[in-house]
Symmetry: C2
Amino acid sequence: MDFVTNEKLTIVGAAGMIGSNMAQTALMMRLTPNICLYDPYGPALEGVAEELYHCAFEGANITWTTDIREALTDAAYVVSSGGAARKAGMTREDLLKGNAQIAEQFGKDIKSYCPDVKHVVVVFNPADITGLIALIYAGLKPSQVSTLAALDSTRLRSELAKYFKISPDEIRNCRTYGGHGEQMAVFASTTLVAGRPLSELIGKEMPEGDWADLQQRVIQGGKHIIDLRGRSSFQSPAYLSICMIAAAMGGKPFEYRRRVRAQRRIQAYPDGDGDHHHERGRRL
Amino acid sequence: MDFVTNEKLTIVGAAGMIGSNMAQTALMMRLTPNICLYDPYGPALEGVAEELYHCAFEGANITWTTDIREALTDAAYVVSSGGAARKAGMTREDLLKGNAQIAEQFGKDIKSYCPDVKHVVVVFNPADITGLIALIYAGLKPSQVSTLAALDSTRLRSELAKYFKISPDEIRNCRTYGGHGEQMAVFASTTLVAGRPLSELIGKEMPEGDWADLQQRVIQGGKHIIDLRGRSSFQSPAYLSICMIAAAMGGKPFEYRRRVRAQRRIQAYPDGDGDHHHERGRRL
């Protein structure tokens, strides 16, 4: 069985729930045999590596290290979930101070150890902001950094499918903009529901109040998972972030176009005013 | 993208760490669109279902229920991790009393609600025994039930690869027998190391004491994960159990031949004396 590429993929934060799932997902997708797991916490990292060895992925060359220099050296692709996770009662923005510092150091480490990296996906929250910080300190081009706002779009898709009681596959072109958090802008304008524009359904088949409630469910989608599972979501961010890096590595294109690049994100804040766009998002 | 089959696959214990990973793994492998998640604990189950909806697996028809009758009705394939997990300080056998009762009810439920099921994989520990109990109460043929002793064989493979500092792919035909626990028999006789019989290496390139230590590491492989990660292994049992059901569903054959059927397991205990075989396993 061939791999998509032989280039090195480094998973940062691989000892955590998201990181360990990302590693398994990347190996299952056979993106590359050369996967390096990094985490500052060695014992859990070794445990993850052991579990992956026990999966017996054919042809895999899985390495692990607690040395960030070793982890990033020669990395062509990097996915990082290496920040603190959200706990019950927190917004994503509550993570900002600590995770912003982590993102700064992550960007600097990329610049020091793998300045020729091809693509980086930043997952830790608030991901839209940590992605920007990493981008700036890494000295990469905006097109080389993706964040996880895609998850908001798939949440919109899922909520619409449940509301209209149809297959999620019949919901097309969902888009969310703005922050990956309370500042999120959940748009109706691009979405098709079984071929019909969502904008035309709102106020008719879908009362405006229902749409406003649904937008809230999308914005609070991550909180809802914490309420239900007792922990921050990890399967969906892990899976989607690996889908994103897979597209960059030459694998399957990221088909929902939810690869929200920092470039696009910057463009979404022309005046640095997230709330402005938030309000625009609320309009149809 | 096609699925291997359209038949219903039910994941029992889907709210747990193993079960939720099994569901994601099965969807990634595109075994069937029709995946039903069952767990008696509704909130966490809904949380898992939400995460999988947010992954946006194309063509997937993911349902969830806390009603075992609904979950098993029309199921062609069932994988169960629906027992208690091992905690630090426990052996797998410590789980026996509670999980044996769960296995009995699981078998009875299969007999009641899906007597025509094609294949069942039982993962909860001690899996060799719970699998047997489920088999007996379900009224299935031995060839229709698999348990997770495969994981012991991949652990043997991994330990040998580390010991000889070669790729795990160069270790072939690893076999373990007996219980999936302290009673495990770790055999050398079938294994090839880079084409050479392991039996010929022991006492030469590999001192006998090293082999005895390595056997212990295999037997304690699960405990080691608990020590390192602070929780029972979940990624490797989930992944391997889905590889097993995939083979039964018409997907890729389970290539390490670690699909340890209850039939073979019964044959491994002709006199009901696990220790006897344990000792045999220690001989070369």
